[in-house]
C-alpha cells in the first residue's frame, strides 16, 4: 500500500506537482539518514549529506524510472552513496574510518553532562562506528544499506552496482565481523579479558 502510494507521489512530482515532495521526504528520510549516519562520525555531516541527497533527487526526479521490485528508496540511496563518497573526498574532510580517527574514537570517553539515556546512546553509536570501521568501505556501505535502510539484497545490489549473490556474501561475512567486534568492545568483555589475562 505504502509502496503504491509512494509511486503515485513520485509520478505526481515528475508531472510537476511540487507538493508531492514533502510526503516523499517524510516517507524516506529516516531510512536514508540511518544508512548515511552509520557511515559518518558526526550528526552534522550526516545531515548535510542527507540534505544534498534529497536536493539532488528532487532536482533530477525526471530521470527516475520505476522498476519492478526496486523501491524508490533504493534510487535515493544510490544518490546518497555517491554523495557520501564524494563529500568525504572532495571536501577533504577527515575520513572517519581512517586509522588515526579511529584511534580518537576508540579513546574518546562519553561526555559527562549528558543524561543517562543519551550517554548510553552515544556510547552505543561510538562502539558501533568503531565496529563498522573494521570493514572495507564497500562492505560497510553494503551493510548500511541492507540493514540500516532495510533494503533487500536485490535493491542493495541495484543501488551499489553489485550482484545480488555478491551482496549476500558480503552481508554474511560483514555482519558476523561487526557483531563480533561489537561484542568484544563491550565494557564487560574488556573486564573479562583483563581477568583472564591476570
Amino acid at each position: 500500500m505504502e509502496e503504491r502510494e509512494e509511486q503515485t507521489l513520485v509520478l505526481e512530482l515528475q508531472n510537476g506537482n511540487s507538493g508531492a515532495a514533502k510526503p516523499l521526504y517524510a516517507l524516506n528520510v529516516q531510512a536514508v539518514y540511518r544508512a548515511v549516519r552509520a557511515q559518518c562520525a558526526e550528526d552534522v555531516e550526516a545531515e548535510d549529506i542527507v540534505q544534498e541527497t534529497f536536493l539532488k533527487a528532487f532536482r533530477s526526479i525526471s530521470s527516475y524510472r520505476p522498476r519492478e521490485g526496486i523501491r524508490f528508496l533504493a534510487w535515493l540511496l544510490k544518490i546518497a552513496s555517491t554523495t557520501t563518497h564524494k563529500w568525504i573526498r572532495s571536501r577533504r574532510r577527515l575520513d572517519v574510518m581512517a586509522p588515526e580517527c579511529l584511534q580518537v574514537l576508540q579513546e574518546r570517553a562519553p561526555p559527562a553532562p549528558a543524561r543517562n539515556g543519551e550517554r548510553d546512546r552515544d556510547e552505543t553509536r561510538r562502539r558501533l562506528t568503531v565496529a563498522l570501521a573494521e570493514l572495507a568501505e564497500r562492505d560497510r556501505r553494503v551493510l548500511c544499506l541492507r540493514y540500516g535502510a532495510d533494503l533487500s539484497a536485490a535493491e542493495t545490489g541495484r543501488a551499489l552496482g553489485l550482484s545480488e549473490s555478491n551482496v549476500r556474501k558480503i552481508c554474511e561475512r560483514g555482519r558476523r565481523k561487526v557483531l563480533e567486534r561489537w561484542a568484544a568492545s563491550a565494557p564487560e568483555a574488556s573486564l573479562d579479558f583483563q581477568l583472564k589475562s591476570q
Partner: protein, 90 residues
Amino acid sequence: MSTQNDDSEEAQLKDLLAVFDATPKQTARMQMAIFNALEARNASLLREWIELVRARPLANAAMILAAAAPVIFAYAPLVGIMRQLAHWAR
C-alpha cells in the same frame, strides 16, 4: 539452523543500527533546509531569466530567432508551394 542464526544476526544488526535514527528535531531541520533551498533555487532561476532578458534584449531576440530558424526553414518551401498552387488556381 544456519538460517536461524542468519536471521537472528540480521535482526540484531538492524536493532543496533536503529541507534543512528534521526531525532524529530533533526528531521524537521533537514526538511526546512531542503525545501528552502528548492524554493530559493526556483526563485533565483526565474529572477536570473528576467534579468537576462532585461539586460540584453537584442541578444535574446537573436537567440529566439535562432531557435525558431529550423521551423521557419522547414515551412518556408511549403508556403511557397501553396502560393504557387493558389496562383495556378486563379
